[in-house]
Every structure is written in structure tokens, then in C-alpha cells.
């Protein structure tokens, strides 16, 4: 395996003097070490937000949806906005691990684990909303086509909400299996390193008895490929179906054939932004600078630029078509002059600035390779994509066909509380993950270490043989030419 030829012009994907053992040690460090103060602070804040959100959910379920700011005209607002937002965020993970796997993009290896963890955690948040937004959530199981005693009563297969149920649950389960499959060798690595019996027990359970035999690896590769094949269509289908909630309706601004591709692009756009947000912090906090490099950030920014471009074209199309239709029922859709100058002008312009204008700065190479700017842009996009869904739902609903029924929407503390709660819940999960899971797919990274590791690239360019260079003095005796090679290299380097 391994050392396929990689052009010197390509940036190394693993920087620094990393040996195989270094990779193992670096990935295992957060799991084996103790949490620092910052972790505890952030975790406490997230936990408090989560508990507050939980309180708000309990209040909603026990009192009624009336504790939200909804009204007779605006039947959805923050609930479905949050739902679509979280689902969208969940898109990057699968794209990175499945689509990029099929396209053999090796840079995904450093980020796919966390991206997919983010996917799963955000789909969990997303899945909350369709349940708690129901007037009678205790009957939520009625949307499942389970055999029942209600006579011939069955779910309505015409309803996009039902398709959502299938789409989201499929997505969650496939993502989870895919993620876990990738985790098996890494869990096994942690198991093998664990010294405490309890830890060892847990990780041996989690690693499903991974033994590291060649057969294991062969099956692992096969399953990964099959799952990637399965997951790829899901990247497109999930948000397509979410967009059907709107596209198949008859409401001006919702009823739009452009929605499926536009929503998918928007989802990847927001997903990558969230991956950036998380990883730019994580690479610092968990000392993963060598694995998540400037190059990785740039790659992701390029994807953002592409999907952001698609989204921008969609905005322009929507705006133009609403105007071009000449129908005055389209005068106040979320992308129209009516919206830009109406009472929700701020939401309209938040969307345009955050999603349309700010990401354009990434055309400049210097900016898209700048950690700080990338971080800011990623946050801005996250905000913008939330506003996109808010605009689609609230602005369009608030100004429907009959002006007599126009209203507006104002969130209550419960709306806000539940949203903050899901953010808290997300970070609780993510922070726990960061402390207990191998946050980088080390087994995979090791496969590219020799082809794309900085040190090995340099060795190769210098005309040195890579034979034996994988050895590490901490794990094996280094003798002969290997030692000479390494010593020479170290000397040259210093």
C-alpha cells in the first residue's frame, strides 16, 4: 500500500516530523490525557445551555406550542428553521467521508472523523425539532408506518413530512454505521494502548473485536467503499427531500422548482462552514496542527466557494423569476423587492450579506489560507444559512396569498431557549466526543504518511530511500542504514 507517487508541488497533508508512532500518540493524547480547564469551562457552558433547552422543551410539551411565538399564519418559524439548519450542517460529514472517498481525495482523512461526528450530532439536533414542533408529540410515532390497531389507518405517503421521516432516519443510520466502521481500527488502537482495565473493556467493546488481521483490513476497505456508495446518494437526497417540504407546497416563495439543488448546495455550504468552525478550534486545542493544515482549510474554503456560488446563483434566479413572473402574489416572497424593503428587511439583508457577499472574499488566496479569516467567514456563513431558512419560512409564510391574513413573527424566550439548548446539546456531544474518540482517522492518515507526509516527501525529494523510515526509536531498535538516513535527515533539517 501506501507510497504512491505524489507530485512535489502538492502540499504535504501531514506536516512536521511525524512518524507512524507520532500519529498514534497525537491521536490518543486527548483520550489518554486529562481534560484541561478550558474544556471544563466550555463543557459546563454547553451543559447549562442544554439543560436550559431541555427545560424549555419540557415546558413546551407540557403547556402547548402556544409558548412559542407562532400564530395562525406563521405555523412554523424557529422550529423548522432550526431543523433545516441542523440538517444542512449535517451534510458536510457525509460529503467528506463518502463522496471524497470515492473521488480519492486524501485530504479528507484528517477531517472526516470530526466532520462525520458533527453530522451525526447535528442530525440528532435536527431530529428533535420535527418531534417537539408537533402539537401532540406523544403521538409522534403515528408518522411511522408501523402496523397498528387503528384499523386501516396508515400514514400519508403523499406528505413530504413523511418523506422527511424516512430521509432523516436513513441518513442518520447510514452515517452512523459509516462512521463507526471507520472508527473500528482506531478504537482498537486505543484499546491496545489502554492500561486501565475499565478503559480497555470499553474500547474493546467499541472496537467490535478488531484484530488488525489482513482480512480485517480487506473487509474494512470493502465495507467502506460500499457504504460510501450508499451514502453518496444520501448527500443529495436528504436535503432534496427537506426542500420538498417547501417546494411541493402552494405557498408563494415556497413553491419553487429550483429548491432541491439549491438546498443541497446550501446544505454543503453550511456544513463545510461548520466543519471549519469546529476544526479551526480543534486543531489548536487538541494539538492537531500537523494533521489539519492550512492546506486543509484552503480545500474546504474552495468547496465553500463553489457551493456558495451555486447558492448565490439560486438567489439571483429566485429574485429574477419572482419579478419576471409579473404575478403580484410573488411581490413579497423572501427574495423580492417587497422583502428587501419590508418589515423583514434586516433578515433579507442578513442573508444577502452573510451568504452572498462575505464568502466572495475567499476568492483571494491569502484570505482563504488565513485561519482567522476562515474562522470568521465560517461563522458568518453559519449565521447566514440560519437566516436563509428563517427567511424562507417566516417571510414567505407571513405574507401569503391573502393580505388579510398577513402577520409577523416574534420569538419567545422558549423559541430562543430551545435553539440555544440544541447548540448546547451539540457541543456537549462534540466535546465528549473530542475527549473519548480518536478525533482523527489515524489508521487512514497513516496510509498517506509516506506519500504525503512532509518529512517523507522531503526525504523522497532528497533522493533518499524510505525503507525503514517508518520505524521509531520508541517502538523499535533502529539500526544500520535506516538510522543513518534518519540521522542525516535530522541533521539536514536542523
Amino acid at each position: 500500500m501506501a507510497s504512491h507517487y505524489e507530485a512535489p508541488i502538492r502540499e504535504p497533508l501531514v506536516t512536521g516530523e511525524k512518524s507512524y508512532h507520532d500519529v498514534t500518540v497525537d491521536v490518543a493524547a486527548p483520550v489518554e490525557g486529562r481534560a484541561n480547564k478550558q474544556w471544563w469551562i466550555v463543557f459546563s457552558i454547553a451543559l447549562v445551555a442544554f439543560l436550559w433547552g431541555l427545560g424549555c422543551i419540557i415546558y413546551t410539551v407540557s403547556t402547548g406550542i402556544g409558548v412559542w411565538g407562532l400564530n395562525k399564519t406563521v405555523g412554523w418559524a424557529w422550529d423548522i428553521t432550526n431543523f433545516v439548519w441542523w440538517v444542512g450542517i449535517g451534510h458536510a460529514g457525509t460529503l467528506i467521508s463518502a463522496v471524497l472517498l470515492l473521488f480519492r481525495q486524501k485530504w479528507r482523512m484528517a477531517v472526516n472523523r470530526s466532520a462525520e461526528a458533527m453530522t451525526i450530532f447535528s442530525v440528532v439536533q435536527a431530529g428533535l425539532f420535527p418531534i417537539i414542533h408537533m402539537g401532540r408529540p406523544w403521538l409522534a410515532y403515528w408518522v411511522l408506518p408501523i402496523p397498528n390497531q387503528f384499523g386501516s389507518l396508515w400514514v400519508n405517503f403523499n406528505s413530504p413530512l413523511l418523506w422527511d421521516v424516512f430521509a432523516i432516519s436513513t441518513y442518520l443510520s447510514v452515517s452512523l454505521v459509516f462512521w463507526w466502521t471507520g472508527l473500528l481500527p482506531d478504537f482498537a488502537m486505543l484499546r491496545d494502548r489502554a492500561v486501565k482495565p475499565f478503559q480497555k473493556k470499553i474500547y474493546s467493546l467499541l472496537s467490535f473485536g478488531w484484530s488488525g488481521r489482513a482480512k480485517d483490513w480487506q473487509r474494512f476497505e470493502e465495507v467502506s467503499l460500499v457504504l460510501a456508495g450508499l451514502a453518496t446518494p444520501l448527500v443529495l437526497s436528504v436535503h432534496t427531500i427537506v426542500s420538498f417540504d417547501f417546494a411541493t407546497s402552494v405557498i408563494p416563495g415556497w413553491h419553487s422548482t429550483i429548491y432541491p439543488p439549491y438546498f443541497v448546495a446550501g446544505a454543503i455550504f453550511s456544513g463545510f462552514a461548520m466543519v471549519l468552525t469546529l476544526l479551526i478550534i480543534m486543531r489548536k486545542v487538541s494539538n492537531l496542527e500537523a494533521y489539519i493544515t492550512r492546506g486543509h482549510i484552503e480545500y474546504m474554503n474552495k468547496v465553500i466557494l463553489l457551493t456558495g456560488g451555486i447558492v448565490s446563483v439560486a438567489y439571483i434566479t429566485e429574485f429574477f423569476i419572482a419579478w419576471y413572473s409579473g404575478s403580484n402574489y410573488e411581490d413579497y416572497t423572501y427574495l423580492s423587492i417587497g422583502a428587501a424593503t419590508g418589515p423583514y428587511w434586516w433578515a433579507f439583508w442578513a442573508l444577502i450579506i452573510c451568504n452572498f457577499i462575505v464568502p466572495q472574499t475567499l476568492w483571494i488566496k491569502k484570505l482563504r489560507r488565513n485561519y482567522m479569516w476562515s474562522f470568521i467567514v465560517s461563522i458568518v456563513i453559519n449565521i447566514g444559512m440560519w437566516f436563509e431558512r428563517f427567511d424562507i419560512i417566516v417571510i414567505n409564510l407571513s405574507k401569503g396569498h391573502l393580505p388579510s391574513s398577513w402577520t409577523m413573527f416574534s420569538p419567545t424566550f422558549v423559541d430562543v431557549g430551545i435553539f440555544l439548548g440544541t447548540i448546547g446539546f451539540f457541543f456537549v456531544l462534540f466535546l465528549l466526543y473530542a475527549r473519548t474518540f480518536p478525533v482523527i482517522a489515524q489508521a487512514e492518515v497513516k496510509t498517506i504518511l509516506k506519500s504525503s507526509g512532509e518529512r517523507y516527501k522531503r526525504l523522497r525529494e532528497d533522493g533518499n530511500s524510505l525503507v525503514g523510515t517508518g520505524a521509531d526509536s520508541r517502538t523499535s531498535d533502529i539500526v544500520g542504514t535506516t538510522k543513518e538516513n534518519l540521522d542525516q535527515d535530522t541533521k539536514n533539517n536542523s
Partner: protein, 1039 residues
């Protein structure tokens, strides 16, 4: 009949001598009971392991278990009939004809009772007059179950017995008689022949008795004018269906002007037939329901109205009349006069100006043109109040001349402008008794509260108009320990006959003229057959003679007095702003202020609920720096003003900017600001009666902005149609008569194979066959709809629609299944709106231009309920199929199945679906009628009370249509056209809402559907509604 059946025990009985048969007779058990087997064997008993202690344990356990098992679960108070009451079949409604005559609303109605409970009011279609129940009348059934009702006679806040009350009152009356002081009966207008007789009897017994009738909102000027002209204290009746031209000077005759009830006749004349419909010109200050329906509306101040009326008289009679009017108004007056002159006897002029001269002038105009619309021969009796007598009474009371005051149906301490003086006077009255439903402002101050029954528990009779009688009968046993005013007066007069018998006697001797009493009682109404004549003048009015205006005058004197009246009107002048006080559609004079249905009924014009407010024009608001603005959730906020009228000040009145309000005028409605006898939630608005100085509804007023922000509860945020003229289609009579319907009522078309075909023919789905069985359609004629709101309340009552309260309405969470949208034009007319759209579509300036209503806009009403789409957008999106299509065309909502995603409501283009945000019944947060056992008695047992978390909406009253179908099936007959009804169609006395089965090809609904005015709301969406509308036609023809 005793049974002679013999039961055989065995064949042995056939043999009379059988020993076995004999033994069987003696012994219940054929074989010996084996006691010994169990108890005989002492050994085994002794060896039993059950000790005495065990035995006691068993006994203890079984006792405990038995008593535990005997414990009841929650007690549900449901008692089956042991003996079935006559005429009550559980599940089948009984209807009784009765009459509401609460002093403000007079109507002949039918009461639907279920299992003995009155639950709904319907119009009495047999009645020739006042047979149509308005919104307040429909809501009045809830007053029966009002938990704030006083439950028995009270003295000093303590319940007493009627016997005690009778004793005390008798001694009080005798004392008054002995002291020579007045005994005054201060009552509402009863217009009742029996009451008149009773009072006569009562006067006979006590001598110095005065009967003073008091209408909270006075028609004194009109009564005086009519009395002066025709010698009868009554009001002219009008049949607007006969009118070709209607000119109104401030008369809100579609509201409560002169007792109201003119709308159904008016609506008849508004439906264009044979190219003709009435032309209605309205001169007024406030934007009234009548002005909103007018073809032409001219806003002007109350003073200008007087001048305009004088000028109108001048133009009509070719005389020049002085007085200044703006040129535009003068032009309008001139045109109106020309149109009246041309229409001749088919025209009518009415006025609401509270001025005897104005009323006289109008009467004389109608008389001189020979108007067939006005009926002065059989005038209306439903307003009798005499302002002068009431004023004199206050003086007499203060002077200590009144020994006893008995009140019924009035609340002077709330409704009198000089309530404090009345209160002072009341203190010096020796005996004061208030017959009242409530412990209200007056009854709590009176010596005794005599608990009155609700009219649904009472007997009574009314002469609505001369020769037209109506009977009131109880529809339930009195719920509380109450006694009627009439019954009490009879008792105090020493007559022991019951009021029922008394009415019967009265009617048999003076009304029926040989007709059957039972038939009259069954019908509820009776039209005099000329066999008896009834005098209508006032015997007990000592003031009548002293009133110089009320004396009948001869013809020449009339001409002279009319021209002097005209001159007086022409000379009217005012300083500064003027206020017009008016009764609101929902609240009337305020006697039903504790009725949550009415509080939550959106005002047809302002669409505001739970409030009254000062209506003010945009220009005046700007001048006073007053603002109305929407907050982040779309709710309306407004500034407060201090209102001062002749030394009386209301400190904080919210100001509402009202398009169409004449510049220089403001309006404020009566009926709000009650403080006693109403629940906390209903204590809304401000009391306008203190401004009602001299019973004059127009006053000069001073306004001053004060600090604070008022929170309105409006159900409609946007007041214009935003150039979407397709929603409420409208055309002029001229275009309607001359152009093809394609020009003014185009039906949507779609392209199929590059051919434009009617949208109804194109379908991407296989059509369901709906030709078998019934298929219901609802027709709404926008020409006939006056926006009165009766249907909204009827729907409330029929369908157990919850009340949500002011703060929830403010959040736009009203639950009305049926709403009446009101749109203002942005330009002078809706036609002008469309011109703006055509001139510059899609431009920012167009948006802004169309977003704001014009200063004097055209107004249009559109009732919207679930459209029952055959291609319903809501049905496809529900994940659990909780809303689905019925075989008869209904879009049905299955509450049990609903999980509450609200997707259906979002996807409804008509926004008619309503979500139960909270639990609205039996929830202390929503302390309205559904929160107490008494209030819940009004619920319709045929309709589920929805729980929280489910969607609800109009069901097209499926419980009513199914009932009709089952009745016909049981009778084995086909269903007649017109039998199918919904609550709204039954309540619509103006005939705007019609309901029927389109599979009955002979039915009226089919004819309506094929009418060229027919269109479907948002028909281009392809939803194929089963509700359709008829394009509004305005008669814009000028003279």
C-alpha cells in the same frame, strides 16, 4: 296487566299427584345441602391451619379490599332520565320560537335546545319584521350561562328570599304612597302590551306611579320628530329592499340605527337583477358599517352633515339654502338630490343626526317624495326612551321627591352621562329595587337586587311595530332563584295571576282577535288581523304635554316648521373637533359586555377585538402627533389621548387611525369600560357614556396626546388588498350591464397542449366521481354581505369554537372558523388600485402606494371560511392523513388523528386553519365560558371540543348536513332544496351565504354556481374550492 304466563319447572308438574312436583314446591333445593360435609367433620376443622388470628386477618383484608373497591373514581355528573320528559329525545334538538327584547335588541328568534338546554339562536323566518338575529342576538344565549349572574334576590350584598323582598318592597311602596312621594318605574323599552297593562294595574294600586322608559343609546330626537309629525311616539319603519336610491346622512342603518334590523331588506336591493340595484350614498363622520357598504361615501363632520341635509332639502325643492360646505361635498349633495329627485317615490332619505330638526326634515322629504320605502303608518315601537323624563327623574330624585324607584333592564349608573348625580339621587330614594341579571354598577347601589331571569327563562310579548307582535317564552326552567319584573309587579299590585296567564289574557282580549294563542306561541310571531286596535300613546307620560315639539301639527304648520328646521340646520356651526359616539357591532350598548364571544368578535370595520378606541383620521392623528404602529410580531400599538367633552374628561383613550374618518372628527364607541358584573378579562376599553351629554351622540371635543402605549388586539394586520384585485373581485354596475363577463370576471385558464382551456378542465389527477350522493357547495354573494358578523357568532355557537382572550388575539391566534376580511382601497376606489398596478407593476413605489389605505377608501367585505377545496393543498401534506376529503365535498379534519404539525395550515392559501395552541377548555388560563360547568352548558353536544395540539377549521357544519340526510332517510323522502344549511348560511339574514347540494340540479345553489358573477377565491391555484363567491357590483352611476 298482570301476566298469566305459567313457567314449568319439570314434566312432573303435568301429573297433579306427583310427589316430586310436591317436593319441588316445598324445597328450593332438590338435594340436601351438604352442610355436614364441610362443617360436620370436627377433626378436619380442628386440623385446619387457619387460626383465629388468620381468620381475623382474612376478614380485615376482605373488608379493606371491599371498601377500596367501593371507592369511586372521578364523579361524572351524568344522570339518566328516570322518567323521560315530554318531547325530549336525547340527541334530538327541539326548537322554540321566542323573542329577545332586552331593551336594545329586539328580534323574533328560534331557540335550539338539546336535552333541555338552549344552545343556539336562529332567525325566525316566519317573522315579517326583526326576524333576523344579529351578532349580539346570536351571542345572547351565552348570557344565560353567565357565571357572573346574580343568583337570587339580594339586599346589602346578602341573599334574601323573595318573600322577604316582597314584604320589604310592599312596605316601602306603601310608605311612598302614604308620604305622597313618587313611585317611579325606570325601565328599558319593553314595547309590550302586557307590560303596559301591568303598569296600569300597578299605578292603580299605588297612585303616584310614573313609568319612565330609558334607552341607554337614545333615539329621542327621532322619536320626538316622529311624534311631532305623526302623533305617535314611535319610529318610522323602512323597507330598503324597495329603495332605488338611498341617501343617508349619518344613519348607520346597517348597524343599530333606530333599533337596527334593516340589513336583510337592504341586501335584497343590493343584488343586481335585471340590470338594476339600489344606489346608496352615505354622508357620515365615522366609518360605519353602512358607509362601508355604500356606493359612494362622503366623509364630513357632524355639523357639516346638518348643513348638507339642509342643502339637500334645498336642492331637492329648488330652494336656496344658506350655510357653507366644501365644494366637493356640496357637489355630492347636489348629485344625491338629483338622484333622489329622479328616483321619486323609490328613493329614501334617512338620517342619524340626533337633532329633532334633522329628523323632521327627513320625514318630510320622504313624505313629500311619497317614498314607498318609509312606512309611517305602522311604525316601530322598539325604542321608547324619553331623555327629558330621565333628566327630570334625576332632578326629582335629588330633590327627594321620589319615594320608590324600581328599575328593570337599565343600568343608569353605567350608561348615564350624569351617573354621579343619579347615584346621589339614588341615595335619597327610600326604596330602590333593581331588577338585574348582574351585580352591576346600578344594582349594587340599589337597596335590593331583584334577580331577573334571562330572557330565555322568561315570558313576554313585544309589539315590534304596530300590528306586529312577537312572543317570548321560557326555553328552560330558571337556572337561579329569579323572578321576572312583570311577575313581581303583578304580585306587588296584588294580582296573583302568573305572568304567562296574564299575557294570554291580554292577548286574547286585545291582540289575537280570535286567532289561536297556541299557534301564535308556536310561531312566536303574530301579525294583527285588524280585529283589534291598540293605542300606542303614552298614558303615563306626564311630560308629553309640556313638550312643545311633540304636539301634532297641521299640514301648513308642518311646511313652516320644516323650513324653520332647515334654516336651523343650515346655520349649524361648530368649533374645533367633533366626536361622534356610536354603538359597535359587537357590543351595542354594552349590556352583553360579559359575553366573551362578543368581546372577541372582530369589529367589522376596524377588525379589532376586546376594545374600544378613539377613531381618528390620518390627518388629525398627524397633527396631534399620534401614531399607530406594528411591533415585531405584527401586533398593533397606539398612542393614548385625553378626551375632553364639555368638562368631562376621559384620561386615556387609545387612538386608532381610521381610514375614512372625516377630518376634524373622531369616534368612540359605547359599551366598554364596565367595571362591575363582568369578569376581569372583560373589563376592557373605556366608558364613553360620560361623554354622552344631553343624550347627544355628537359633541365638540378637545384632544390631547398623553403618554403611554396601548396594545390593540387586531385580527387583521394588513388593511389593503395590495393590488391583488383578484381576491375580492369588483366591478361597476355599468360594466356589469354592458360588458361580457370575461372582461370583469375572467375565469382562470391554463395551457394544455398549447391550447388555453378552463382551469377546471385540466387535471393532473384522475378526478373523483362526485356525481353520486350529495356534493355541497357554499355561495357567498359579496353584494349582499354587509359584514354584520352574525355568521361569525353563529359559527362560534354551533361549532364550540373557543375564545382565546385579548392577549392571544393580539398574537394573531384567534380561533374563528369563519372570518370576514375587510379591505380598504389604497386609492379612492379599488378600481384606482388596479390602475396603479397596471401603470407600474413591480416597482417599489407601487408597493408603497398600495400598502396604505386611502384617506377615504372604498371598503369591501369578504367572509372567508375553509374553502373545502376538491384539490386541497392541506390534504396532501399531512403526514398522518388527519385531513382528508369527504365524499360530499367536505375537506374533513379528523381531530383524533391530528398530531399537530401545522403543515396543513402553512400550505393553506386561504389561511383558514386554526391551531389549538393551548388547552382552551377547562383551563384557568382561559377563564371564559368553557372553564366553568355553567358556561359549558352552551356547548353543542354534536361537535367535539378540541384538545390542545390539534388543528381545527370549518367543517361545513357536517353535523347539520348529516342530520338533514338522516331525517330525510328516516322519513323516506328526498331532501328538498333549501333543507341543507350551515350555521353561517342559516344566520345570514341578508342572504349572502347560501348552501346547497350541487348534485341536485334544480337547486338554487346550482343556479348560483352558474351565475356569471361566480368566481372561486384564488381559482388560478387549481384548488377547486367548494365555496364560491359572487363578484361585488357597485352602483357608481352618478346623476
Amino acid at each position: 296487566m298482570a301476566s298469566n304466563k305459567k313457567y314449568w319447572s319439570s314434566v312432573e308438574e303435568l301429573n297433579p299427584n306427583s310427589s316430586i312436583a310436591e317436593t319441588l314446591k316445598q324445597n328450593e333445593f332438590v338435594e340436601e345441602i351438604p352442610n355436614d360435609e364441610f362443617l360436620g367433620d370436627k377433626d378436619s376443622l380442628g386440623s385446619s391451619s387457619t387460626s383465629r388470628r388468620d381468620f381475623l386477618k382474612y376478614v380485615g383484608f376482605t373488608t379493606a379490599a371491599a371498601s377500596l373497591a367501593a371507592c369511586e373514581g372521578p364523579v361524572t355528573k351524568s344522570i339518566p332520565y328516570v322518567v323521560q320528559p315530554e318531547n325530549i329525545v336525547p340527541g334530538v334538538a327541539n326548537y322554540y320560537a321566542t323573542t329577545i327584547a332586552d331593551g336594545y335588541d329586539f328580534a323574533s328568534i328560534l331557540i335550539k335546545t338539546r336535552e333541555g338546554r338552549p344552545i343556539k339562536i336562529e332567525s325566525n323566518t316566519d317573522a315579517k319584521i326583526n326576524g333576523g338575529a344579529n351578532a349580539r342576538v346570536h351571542a345572547s344565549v351565552l348570557g344565560l350561562y353567565d357565571s357572573m349572574r346574580v343568583q337570587g334576590p339580594k339586599a346589602k350584598g346578602e341573599y334574601i328570599s323573595w318573600d322577604d323582598l316582597d314584604t320589604n318592597v310592599a312596605s316601602g311602596l306603601n310608605a311612598a304612597k302614604a308620604s305622597g312621594k313618587q313611585i317611579v318605574l325606570l325601565t328599558q323599552t319593553f314595547a309590550s302590551p302586557s307590560v303596559k297593562n301591568i303598569i296600569a294595574e300597578f299605578s292603580q294600586k299605588y297612585g303616584n306611579v310614573k313609568h319612565i322608559q330609558y334607552d341607554a343609546i337614545s333615539e329621542d330626537a327621532a322619536l320626538n320628530a316622529f311624534e311631532a309629525s305623526y302623533g305617535v311616539r314611535a319610529l318610522a319603519d323602512y323597507d330598503f329592499s324597495k329603495a332605488e336610491v338611498i341617501v343617508s346622512f349619518g344613519a348607520d342603518f346597517l348597524g343599530d340605527w333606530q333599533g337596527g334590523g334593516f340589513d336583510s331588506d337592504y341586501a335584497k336591493g343590493r343584488i343586481p337583477s335585471h340590470g338594476k340595484m339600489s344606489r346608496h350614498i352615505q354622508f357620515e363622520s365615522n366609518m360605519s358599517l353602512t358607509g362601508a357598504n355604500a356606493d359612494k361615501r362622503v366623509p364630513l363632520t357632524p355639523t357639516q352633515q346638518k348643513v348638507a341635509l339642509a342643502k339637500f332639502y334645498g336642492f331637492l325643492n329648488g330652494k336656496s339654502v344658506g350655510g357653507e360646505l366644501p365644494a366637493k361635498i356640496e357637489e355630492a349633495v347636489k348629485n344625491a338630490a338629483a338622484q333622489v329627485a329622479r328616483a321619486g317615490k323609490n328613493a329614501v332619505v334617512v338620517t342619524g343626526i340626533n337633532d329633532i330638526d334633522a329628523q323632521k326634515v327627513v320625514l318630510s322629504i320622504n313624505k313629500s317624495i311619497g317614498s314607498v320605502v318609509m312606512d309611517a303608518d305602522a311604525p316601530r315601537m322598539t325604542r321608547q326612551g324619553n331623555a327629558k323624563q330621565v333628566a327630570a327623574l334625576v332632578e326629582d330624585m335629588k330633590a327627594g321627591k321620589v319615594g320608590a324607584l324600581i328599575m328593570s333592564g337599565v343600568n343608569p349608573l353605567y350608561t348615564l352621562p350624569n351617573a354621579s348625580e343619579f347615584e346621589a339621587g339614588l341615595a335619597s330614594v327610600d326604596l330602590s329595587v333593581a331588577f338585574s341579571l348582574k351585580e352591576d354598577e346600578t344594582s349594587t347601589k340599589a337597596g335590593y337586587i331583584a334577580a331577573e331571569p334571562h330572557y330565555l327563562e322568561s315570558w313576554g310579548d313585544v309589539e315590534m311595530k304596530k300590528g306586529h307582535y312577537s312572543l317570548m317564552q321560557p326555553t328552560i326552567r330558571p337556572i337561579f332563584n329569579t323572578r321576572q319584573f312583570q311577575e313581581s309587579l303583578l304580585k306587588w299590585a296584588g294580582n296573583d295571576v302568573s305572568y304567562h296567564d296574564y299575557i294570554k289574557q291580554t292577548w286574547e282580549s286585545t291582540v289575537l282577535g280570535g286567532s289561536s294563542w297556541n299557534t301564535a306561541l308556536h310561531d312566536g310571531v303574530f301579525v294583527g288581523n285588524g280585529n283589534v286596535t291598540v293605542e300606542t300613546d303614552e298614558d303615563a307620560v306626564p311630560f308629553a304635554a309640556s313638550n312643545e315639539d311633540t304636539e301634532p301639527v297641521n299640514a301648513e304648520a308642518t311646511v313652516a316648521s320644516v323650513s324653520s328646521s332647515v334654516n336651523k340646520l343650515a346655520g349649524a356651526a361648530a368649533n374645533g373637533m367633533e366626536i361622534t359616539l356610536y354603538p359597535k357591532t359587537g357590543m351595542g350598548d354594552g349590556r352583553q359586555a360579559n359575553n366573551p364571544w362578543l368581546q372577541e368578535l372582530p369589529d367589522p370595520i376596524t377588525r379589532n377585538t376586546w376594545d374600544n378606541y378613539l377613531t381618528i383620521s390620518m390627518a388629525d392623528a398627524e397633527a396631534l402627533d399620534l401614531e399607530n404602529y406594528t411591533v415585531s410580531n405584527g401586533a398593533l400599538n397606539g398612542d393614548y389621548v385625553k378626551v375632553t367633552v364639555g368638562g368631562v374628561t376621559l384620561d386615556k383613550v387609545p387612538a386608532l387611525i381610521q381610514p375614512g374618518q372625516a377630518k376634524g372628527t373622531v369616534g368612540l364607541s359605547f359599551g366598554y369600560g364596565k367595571t362591575l358584573g363582568v369578569k376581569e378579562e372583560m373589563k376592557t376599553g373605556v366608558n364613553a357614556y360620560p361623554l354622552y351629554l344631553g343624550f347627544n351622540n355628537t359633541q365638540e371635543v378637545k384632544l390631547e396626546k398623553v403618554s403611554g402605549t396601548h396594545e390593540f388586539a387586531s385580527v387583521q394586520m394588513k388593511s389593503t388588498m395590495d393590488g391583488r384585485g383578484d381576491i375580492l373581485r369588483e366591478t361597476s354596475l355599468e360594466i356589469f350591464n354592458t360588458k361580457d363577463s370575461h372582461d370583469w370576471n375572467p375565469q382562470p385558464e391554463v395551457s394544455v397542449n398549447h391550447q388555453e382551456v378552463s382551469a377546471d378542465e385540466a387535471d393532473i389527477w384522475a378526478e373523483f366521481d362526485s356525481s353520486i350522493g350529495h356534493h355541497f357547495n357554499l355561495s357567498i354573494d359579496l353584494n349582499a354581505c354587509t359584514g354584520c358578523g352574525a355568521c361569525v357568532i353563529a359559527c362560534h355557537a354551533e361549532n364550540n369554537v373557543p375564545v382565546v382572550g385579548k392577549s392571544e388575539v393580539r398574537k394573531y391566534r384567534d380561533m374563528h372558523w369563519l372570518r370576514i376580511d375587510r379591505y380598504y382601497s389604497s386609492e379612492e376606489s379599488f378600481e384606482g388600485d388596479m390602475d396603479v398596478v397596471e401603470a407600474a407593476p413591480n416597482s417599489i413605489s407601487t408597493y408603497h402606494q398600495l400598502e396604505h389605505p386611502s384617506e377615504n377608501p372604498q371598503v369591501a367585505f369578504q367572509p372567508v371560511m375553509c374553502q373545502h377545496c376538491n384539490h386541497a393543498p392541506c390534504e396532501t401534506v399531512c403526514p398522518v392523513a388527519a385531513t382528508s376529503h369527504g365524499k360530499q365535498g367536505q375537506n374533513q379534519m379528523i381531530y383524533n388523528r391530528c398530531v399537530g404539525t401545522r403543515y396543513c395550515a402553512n400550505n393553506c392559501p386561504y389561511k383558514v386553519r386554526r391551531f389549538n395552541w393551548f388547552l382552551y377548555s377547562q383551563n384557568d388560563e382561559f377563564d371564559f365560558y368553557m372553564n366553568d360547568d355553567l358556561g359549558r352548558m352552551v356547548l353543542n353536544p354534536d361537535v367535539t371540543v378540541r384538545s390542545r395540539g390539534v388543528m381545527e377549521k370549518c367543517s361545513m357544519c357536517i353535523q347539520m348536513t348529516q342530520k338533514t340526510i338522516l331525517d330525510a332517510k328516516r322519513d323516506g323522502r328526498p331532501i328538498k332544496d333549501g333543507e341543507f344549511k350551515t350555521a353561517c348560511s342559516a344566520a345570514c339574514s341578508s342572504g349572502a351565504i347560501k348552501f346547497g347540494d350541487v348534485n341536485d340540479k334544480e337547486s338554487e345553489i346550482v343556479e348560483l354556481k352558474e351565475d356569471k358573477r361566480m368566481y372561486h377565491l384564488l381559482g388560478f391555484k387549481g384548488t377547486r374550492p367548494n365555496v364560491f363567491y359572487h363578484t361585488k357590483v357597485r352602483n357608481t352611476e352618478e346623476a
